[in-house]
């Protein structure tokens, strides 16, 4: 049960985080930028990304080994060998970009600084694009495990 909660919780937090990133980008495109909102959104995104790191990391380190052993022997072995391998390393790129977000938001006067606005939008777009890839990769890995267990082709 605990394993399933962790497994479902991390993409759920990721989806909410993606919505916050969209909100951040839209907030920066407004004529009158609400600086406090931009700062709170940036901080929330960073904190949620750290929580994903801890939750998904714990699940990956403690529980994934069992599924991996089955997936790599199945016809969907690429779901681990390609998608998990890329996902687990691209995640760190997103983590670094997310940790950088609040620093930009809190150290600059966002409403009056076009460079800071442009930088935050750039970070937001990069984070969003990479998170969409990670989310898709997660779905493929999940389906890979499903096929491996259902067809038992990874258990032989």
């Amino acid at each position: 049960m605990f394993e399933s909660i962790l497994l479902l919780l991390h993409p759920a937090i990721a989806v909410v985080t993606m919505l916050l990133v969209v909100w951040l980008i839209v907030s920066l495109k407004c004529v009158n930028i609400n600086e406090r909102r931009v700062r709170m959104l940036s901080l929330s995104i960073a904190l949620m990304m750290v929580s994903i790191w801890i939750i998904a990391g714990y699940w990956y380190v403690v529980f994934y080994g069992v599924d991996k052993a089955v997936i790599v022997k199945s016809s969907w072995s690429f779901s681990h060998s390609f998608f998990m391998e890329t996902k687990e390393h691209i995640f760190f790129v997103v983590l670094i970009l997310s940790l950088y977000l609040p620093l930009v938001a809190f150290r600059n006067s966002i409403a009056n600084n076009t460079s800071a606005q442009k930088l935050l939008i750039t970070l937001g777009v990069l984070i969003l694009a990479l998170m969409l890839y990670i989310d898709g990769a997660g779905a493929i890995i999940s389906h890979g495990a499903e096929i491996a267990y259902m067809h038992k082709d990874g258990l032989q």
């Binding site: 060998s81 950088y100 620093l103 009056n112 460079s115 930088l119 990069l126």
Partner: protein, 96 residues
């Protein structure tokens, strides 16, 4: 309208660009050199945990280091370039 970025924004921006590329470099090194992989496992119990901790620690250290220097760069372009290169190298290395 101001276009000047704070010194910590510049310093940590350069640090982020470097760490994103270092992240790919560390992935390649740990896959190619078993000793590095073993050392990373020994550090925290799992290579992935160590990988993340090394990346974040390096981001903080380099961030403060570059913040103390007067460097003028286009941070947005630097981060876009390093992210694209870093991610494509990860995909390329895994696909090979």
């Amino acid at each position: 309208m101001n276009t000047q970025l704070d010194k910590y924004t510049l310093g940590f921006g350069i640090s982020a660009a470097i760490v994103i590329l270092f992240n790919t470099f560390l992935m390649i090194v740990k896959e190619e050199i078993p000793l590095v992989h073993t050392m990373m496992v020994a550090l925290s119990g799992h290579h992935w945990t160590s990988h993340g901790l090394i990346d974040v620690t390096l981001f903080i250290i380099l961030g403060f280091l570059f913040s103390s220097r007067n460097i003028k760069v286009n941070i947005s372009s630097l981060i876009i370039t390093s992210t694209i290169v870093g991610v494509l190298l990860i995909i390329g290395m895994v696909a090979m």
